[in-house]
Structure formats: C-alpha cells, structure tokens
Amino acid sequence: MRARLTSPQALEKLRAEIAGRRDPEKPVLSICAGTGCVAYGSLKLADAVREEVEKRGLGDKLEVRINGCHGFCERGPLVLCHPHGFFYQRVQPSDVGEILEQSILAGQPIERLQYVDPVTGARAVKQQDVGFYKHQMRVLLEYNGWIDPTSIEDYIAVGGYAALAKALSTMKPEEVLDAIYKSGLRGRGGGGFPAGVKWKECRNAPAPDGVRYIIANGDEGDPGAFMDRSLMEGNPHLVIEGMILGAYAIAHPGHPVGYIYVRNEYPLAVERLGLALEKARELGLLGEKILGTDFGFDIQINRGGGAFVCGESTALMASIEGFVGEPRAKHIHTVVQGLYNKPTNLNNVETWANVPLILTRGVDWFTSIGTGDVSKDPWGGSKGTKIFALVGKVNNTGLVEVPMGKTLREIIFDIGGGIRDGRQFKAVQTGGPSGGCLPASHLDMPVDFDRLTEAGSMMGSGGMIVMDDSTCMVDVARYFLHFLADESCGKCVTCREGLKHLCKIVDRICAGQGREGDLELLDEISLTVEKASLCALGQTAPNPLRSTMRYFRDEYVAHIRDHKCPAKVCKALITFGINDKCTGCMVCARNCPTGAITGERKKLHVIDQSKCIRCGVCQEVCKFDAVDVA
C-alpha cells in the first residue's frame, strides 16, 4: 500500500516518479475489453496474449494493457500496438503470435488485421486513419485506448488529478465554480441545464449543517446506449476527479458527501469504480485532508435496481434514500432540497468527466469547441464535445465523440460509414427512447442541445439510432411508447394512463384497425402527457410519437385510411405471396411453421393466407427471390 499524498507537490513528484520508471519507447499492447469487445471474445484474446508472452519470455519486452471501450465495437476485438500505433480489428487468439513477432518485436504492421474502408478500399494503419475515428474529437475518451482502468498510476501518468492539485493549491472554490460557469458546460444527462448555474444555486442554498450531496448519475437505462458505461469502465478516475472538484467548488468549506448511482446491470462499472475509489482513498485523493489540505470528501457507490425512471434525479434520490423510485415535483429545486432534503448537486457521469479537462486545459479551450456564445449566458450555446452511442442500420456502430455542432450527416455518413446493405437513410432517433425521430431533411442540422429540441427531439444522454427505409415509423413509435409505458413509474395519471391509451391506439393502427379521428386523438392525448406530466420521463415520452406524426404523417395515414404499411413491417397489414420465380424447391413449405405453404415439387407453390402468420421465414429461406410482400 502506498502512503497518502500530503500535498499537491507530492502528487507531481509521484507523477514524475511514474514517468521516470516508464520507457516511452517500450511497446504496449492495448486490448479493448469494453462490453462489445468482450462479447466478441477479447478476454480470451487477452488470456492468449498473456500465455504467449509468458511462453516466449517477452515479459520485460512489452507491457500488455487491458483497456476500457475503444469505441469501434462493430469491429471488435480491437488491439492497438504502441509505440507505432498499429490498429488491428477482429483480432483472434490465433493472431497473437504474429502480432508479437511482427508488430511488437519487428515493428511492422500486419495487413490482414487492418481495417479496410468499405467505400475507398484504403487500408488503415493507425487508428486515426479509420474514418470512424478520423472525424471524431476524442477528448473524454482520449485515454480509453491507452490506460488500464484498474491502475491509478496509468491515470496519473497521463496527467490525472492534475486539475485537482491545481485547484487545491491555486484556486478558491469560487474560482473553480466560476470556471465551470464560464465554460458553458451543460448537463450531459439529457436536460442540458448549465452545470455552473446548478453548482452556484447549490452552493448558495442554505445548509445549516454544511452537508451538501454530490451525486453522479450513472443509471444509464436507454436501450443501446453505453456512453456513461464506457467512461465508468474505461476511465473511472476521470469521473471521480470531476466529482472531487465539484465537491470542492460547491461545498467547501463544509461537508460534501458523494454518491455514484450506477445501475446494477453494469457489474464491471461497479467493480472498476469501487477499485478506483479505493485507490484514490489510499493516495489521499479522497477522504479527510485531501492532498494535505483542509478539504475532505468521500464517495460511495449506490447500485440501482434496474428501473429506467431512476435516471430521473428525484427518483434517483428517492431510491438512494431507500424508497420506491418515484419522481417528485421539482418546484423546490433539488439544489435546495434534494437527497434527505439537503442541498444536492446531481450531474451525469459524462458531465463530471468534463470538469477536470476544463480546469487543466482552460475555459477558452472548452468554449472554442461547440456552438453559440456562452460568454454572457451559459444557455447561449452548447460547448465541448458529446459522446454518442451510434447504433442501428449504420456500417460503423460504436461510441462516437464529436464536438457539439457536428451535423447528423457527418456523424452518420463520415463516422458511421453510411447505411448498411446499400439501403436508404430514413430517420435517426436522438436522445434515447424518449427522443424524436428526425428525417433526411434534418441531416444537415448541427447537433446541439437547442437545435435538437427545436426539431422535436432532444440531446438526451446521447443515444443515436439510425433507421433505414425498411423501418416502419408507426411501428417505431409503437415500440418506444410501449417501452416508456413499461418504464413509467406509474405515479401520475397523464404518464401512466396517457401512455397506456396511446399504446392502445397505435397498436390498433398497426393492426389495421385505425379509425378516422385517431390522429387527432393521439395529438390531443400526447400533448397533455407532454404538458401535464409530473417528471421529465412523462413530459418527453410522447416525443417519438409526436415527431413521427410530424415528419412521417403519410405513413400514419396509409395505415389508417388505406390499411397499408408502406415499409411492409406491420404484420396485420401485409400479405406474403409466391411469384413465378418459384422453382418448386419446397424449402419454404418445409420451413413454414404453420404449414401454410402447399405445392408439388418443381411446381409453383401457394400460401394459404388463412394459415399464414406472416413470420417471414419463407422469404428468408427462398433462394430464388420468389416470395413477395404486399
């Protein structure tokens, strides 16, 4: 166990000592062990590397580092070879010998493991040569492919906790707060509320016993989103350092108490954060007298029980208190009366991760990135970068960090590599399940908090689901309405009952039983759900419905009036038929689960519509393109 650091200078001494022990020319083999790559078998790959290194006696010739998420999950397992920076994708345990031999010892790239751009055919030698990475601006994720998240030394070696040392040795709490205020940093969890304004209100709120709670919201529950997860798993100290700085700015001198609320479905995040907290405590970066000063702060982890609504701040606080995760009205802000009725400052994991960077690189650096002007008003723009989980029908899915203001087209086509299988772009849903779906006409819209809201969607926590022309937008609205109805806490009538009836009506439309007046009824109910619900879950829940009704109204009309699903998705509105390309191979008939297909060998087959359940198996198995959907 290492001795506690008793001054900011001692931290700098430790940093120098770590640097002195490390040879920058020594090869490092970085293996991505983010959730996507683990699913692709990167842990087995890591075992194979360790075994091979042992076998060849290369232990002191290179360092093997297991990282958090590198972001390009589509192509996992990912490997980086330093110091040359070779980037390899889809690496298998059988490739390990060659990598060690050729890339580590001989310093040569291996062509067959490189990424080949599907459009240009160009080979990418380094990470930066890959279109997916080239167009990103990786600030928060910069070190995800370099550091071992279980090693505090790795974090310190890349400048970790320097912001804390700087703040404690040269800045008053008010100055730290002022820097965040001027940076225009806005909350990354969904609302986009300026962090500086929140911090100031929390600092100014009366706290007779000095207790102010500092909370990181890591209850990331959006389907397909993993921004916060990757930060917590890949660089936990960045989040922790941000929280310590926040505690100093908001509650010193006083008694700040910290919580990180992580969903229990993220066991690796819980484990790595726990380890990181322990290491930070050992070094005196947490606990009493941090870095030898009179500032003390500690953080504990609270594991969430899996309710989507607990990502809402007041529901999250109720959950920490041990009550059912139900939101309450925020007419008295949580910065005044939050957790246990004390002043509480809650920010999203990604928001906290920005804080150390703003302090080390400066406010001017931060405000140089993004849109608008925040010099007079922190609401005046969107500054810094934003991480998105780019998923759906794009070629390159994964974790993407871009400066605010990048257009949807750049994100989807330059970084995402365009739509899969040569299909057409149809819509993109930003902001998670309660975000809106934006059509192609919005592709050149710069992505920032205010533009997304204007367009009927939202930044949300940064989910981005791309849909192609095989997607039925009514079906999409139906899916998300059901998700939100299931995840509603059920406290207030508008959200619980409103969503229930919206689901029923849209279900009816998808089943071909839409009626005249349904669109008006949907409009009326969804507007009340938006305006009269108690918390942000209810207030934003109609977004997928309202945005698809706004941009894809003709699809609703086709469902209701013509009983047709233009995208051929809604089962009740489509029929399968066999055309004359049929060779009578009988494969469809053998695979049909309901025995609806009849026909003799080498003769045209027929589907009995009364037996057909429209599962689509016949179309999937037909090799002759003989099954049509109408």
């Binding site: 209100e201 100014n204 709120a205 009366p206 309710a307 609504v309 059912v324 309450r328 009205a329 007419h331 008295i332 802000h333 005044v336 109805a485 299931d486 995840e487 509603s488 806490c489 059920g490 406290k491 207030c492 009538v493 508008t494 619980r496 009952e497 409103g498 969503l499 229930k500 009836h501 029923k504 009824l521 009326e524 109910i525 507007l527 009340t528 305006k531 009269a532 619900s533 108690l534």
Partner: protein, 249 residues
C-alpha cells in the same frame, strides 16, 4: 426561485392578476381553496402531504420573468411574485384530457362521472378499463394510513401500468386496524366498509376485525383492535375511556 424568503415567510402573489397574501412554501391548491377559488382535485387532502398524482388541479403559473407553465397546484409552493391563472384555454384542454383518462380507469364511479359531465368531457373515445376496481391510484388511502394513522398497512405495488394499491403480498395485513380512514378519504369510494354481526370488514383489503361494544349503549362502535392500538399509542389514559363510544366518555 425565491430563496430570499425562508419557508413560512409571508409573500404576496397574484391570482388572475389580483394581489393576495400567502405563505412561502404553502400548497398553492390549499391557498386557492382558502380564498374560495374552485379547483378540482382528487388526490389531495389537507391532512396529508401533496403527491401530484391525479393531475386535475392544473393551473397556469406566470413567473416573475413572464414565463408561463402548466403545473399542478397541490404540490406547487406559493411564492412571491407569481401570477396564478385558472381555467385558461390550456388548463381547460389538459384537464379535460386528464378527466377522460381518469374516467376510463373508473368508468362506474358516480363521482368521476359527475365531474366529467361538469367539465364537458367527451365520452366514448377511450377504451374503458372494464376490469377496473374504480381505483384511480391517487394514493390518498396510503398517505392517510401512513402519515395520519401510522399503521402502514397498504402500499403501491409494481410500476407503470401494472401499478396497484394493495396490502403486502395481497394478503390480509395484521397491521391494518380497520379504522376506515382510507375508506373515508377515497375519492371514488372503491375501498368499501361493511359492518355486520359485530364485525367490521374493509372490503378491498380483506381485513375483518371484531367490534367493541359500548358499555353505555350496548352497541358495537369500533374495532377492538383499533382501541388497543390507540390505547397503546396515546398511553397513560384510563383504560375505562375506551369502553364507551366517544359521546359517552
């Protein structure tokens, strides 16, 4: 925000443009009622904390900066400088939809039907919940049981559209003293109380307790268990007090 005022401080605010005195932090709904304004509400009672579930007591609040917002008034704290607008077109429109949603939950409830008629709620647009117990999940029974009676016999279970008010594990709960407070506050009268053969049953919670007989009149008046509960809770009182119905003590 009105941080300059501590909770409980006197403040002035407006209702429909007219100035009124209020107390910072008080329930806006209760204050409106006190001044004689009619605002419908189903989930609020002065005896318990605000909950904000029924969404009926909507008003439009204009803040000091002139921004309008629709909010429930039961859980909105009275504060300086606001103007509270009642029955604006937006309030009326949203309240009507809220009532339509509530009526679909409790289609048989006479109270809700009367309220819906009063507010011109269109009928027949939403599929009513036929299996409904006429409970609108306002949570009043639970708050009364917990905050006033202190018995904690019932609670919400599950989440979202599956949410229900019930006893733990849907079983008869020995914590229930059959006091009937929940029956009294229920806005749709969906809990039910029956007294027969010297016993009281709270129908919805399936709790039956024998009634004590008044020594004065010889008539059953309240569950024996409840008397014991209060004898213990209040403590030190002459045990004879509890042998008679209240008018004869």
């Amino acid at each position: 925000m009105s941080e300059q005022h501590p909770f409980g401080a006197p403040v002035t605010f407006r209702i429909g443009g007219r100035p009124y005195e209020g107390t910072y932090g008080d329930s806006l709904l209760e204050t409106l009622h006190r001044y004689g304004y009619e605002v419908p509400s189903l989930c609020h009672h002065e005896a318990v904390s605000a909950y904000g579930a029924c969404r009926l007591c909507l008003v439009e609040v204009v803040d000091k900066r002139g921004r309008h917002k629709i909010t429930t008034s039961c859980n909105f704290p009275v504060q300086a400088g606001i103007d509270v607008l009642l029955d604006t077109p937006d309030v009326v429109r949203h309240r009507r939809v809220v009532l339509e949603l509530l009526l679909a939950m409790a289609p048989r409830s006479p109270e809700l039907r009367a309220l819906a008629a009063e507010h011109d709620v269109p009928g027949g647009r939403l599929e009513p919940d036929e299996s409904a117990e006429d409970c609108i999940l306002c949570g009043l029974c639970e708050r009364v049981c917990r905050e006033v009676v202190g018995a904690n016999a019932i609670a919400m279970s599950a989440r979202g559209t599956a949410k229900r008010m019930t006893t733990p594990y849907d079983a008869e709960n020995p914590a229930c003293i059959a006091c009937g407070a929940c029956v009294y506050v229920c806005p749709t009268r969906c809990i039910g109380l029956e007294e027969a053969d010297g016993k009281r049953t709270i129908l919805r919670w399936g709790r039956t307790l024998p009634l004590a007989v008044c020594q004065q009149t010889g008539r059953a008046f309240t569950p024996q268990f409840l008397l014991e509960h209060y004898a213990k809770k209040l403590g030190g009182l002459d045990e004879k007090v509890f042998r008679k119905a209240p008018p004869y003590r």
